[in-house]
Amino acid sequence: MKKNESFWQKLLSLDEISYENPLDEQLIDAETDQPDSVLRQQSPVEYAFAEILQEEKQEELYIAERLEANSLHAWVGRQSKKWAKPVYSLLCALFCVALVVFLMSTVIELPPFGAADNPTNNEVAQRYLEKGLEETGAVNMVAGMILDYRAFDTFGESTVLFVAACSVLLLLKLGDHKDGEVSPAMLEAEWDDRHHEPKNDAILQMAARVLVPVILLFGMYIVLAGHLGPGGGFSGGAVMGAGLILYLNAFGFRKTGRFFTYKTFRWVTFVALMTYALLKSYSFFCGANHLESGISLGTPGAILSSGLILPLNICVGLIVMCIMYAFYTLFRKGGM
């Protein structure tokens, strides 16, 4: 009985809940003053008090959320017809089965995997395989194909990734684009991040200390040896990005902020994309025909060989790494 009472009291007092952060006033004060340091210099008692307030508000918000969801559910239940749900499920199942049948019939029609007389084994692939090593100097034929013969395709892919990062930036980035300016929303996100994300987790930090250097080294190896063996810019960049994310998770923004800020992200991505564009965008003007770069191809198998493939691999790797890391930071805090 007592349970219900407190619940109903909360229900009745729902209207009075303000959706403001209890720290707002302090945050705005902090903004006019020295933004970050004031927040840090709170006395422990004040901080604990603010934390308790925050927790209470969170709880009230949670109850409000749940009530709203319940009422919505009830409304949907009242609005829908009784026969609607089974018909809907039946249609769903039918659609899925039809899709599976259609796709499976297509798969059965495909030629067998790796057969010699497949339509993909035509003169194009044959020429790439026969002349590839001689013309591009790359031992890894895939790298020779995507970064030499078809380098403009890869340029398009990097640009697609960059555009994706731009749209995430537009949607999730908090605050102004000028560096050093801190808005109340950013401060609130900062507080929220410090409150909720793991910090000083001994196991995580120890694991990160061992793993992060290995992961970053492995990523660099994949990027740099992309023309010698399996790998390349995209896979290596993704591995390095994952390593950076692990480092950030273990040690927090204050450590990563020393070497990777929003400014670094902007400049690295810009420089890498522009280098790529300068080196390879002539393809768009000469109809994807090859132009002599004048760089000697070197001995196949050496690390400094195969002309432009190595610098292009590094560019792609840097772009992918920065964008993976930027996605994570933007999702987590709306900034770097």
Partner: protein, 89 residues
């Protein structure tokens, strides 16, 4: 070898179906990670180690982490501690 491939393909289908039908969003993301790891092994068996590395880093790593953050932001992950806290009241 053949048995191994068939087993992995079977697990792949099970993971795909389980991702769609799991009630808990958190469990769904974890199963999706398992799907990515299985896919990574399949890429290895199809002799494309570069794709395997990418799948492991992007599919099992970054994508799932982004999913976790999103779930946390929309308060879809609730720890046991918090759950107990609410039930006490």
């Amino acid at each position: 070898m053949n048995v191994f491939v068939i087993m992995i393909l079977g697990f792949l289908v099970v993971c795909a179906v389980a991702t769609a039908f799991t009630k808990s969003l958190l469990a769904s993301v974890v199963i999706y990670m398992a799907y990515s790891v299985l896919m990574c092994i399949i890429w290895m068996l199809l002799q494309s180690p570069d794709l395997a590395v990418t799948e492991a880093a992007v599919g099992a790593g970054v994508t799932s982490v982004l999913f976790f953050i999103t779930l946390k932001k929309i308060h879809a992950i609730r720890g046991d501690e918090e759950e107990d806290h609410h039930e006490e009241k």
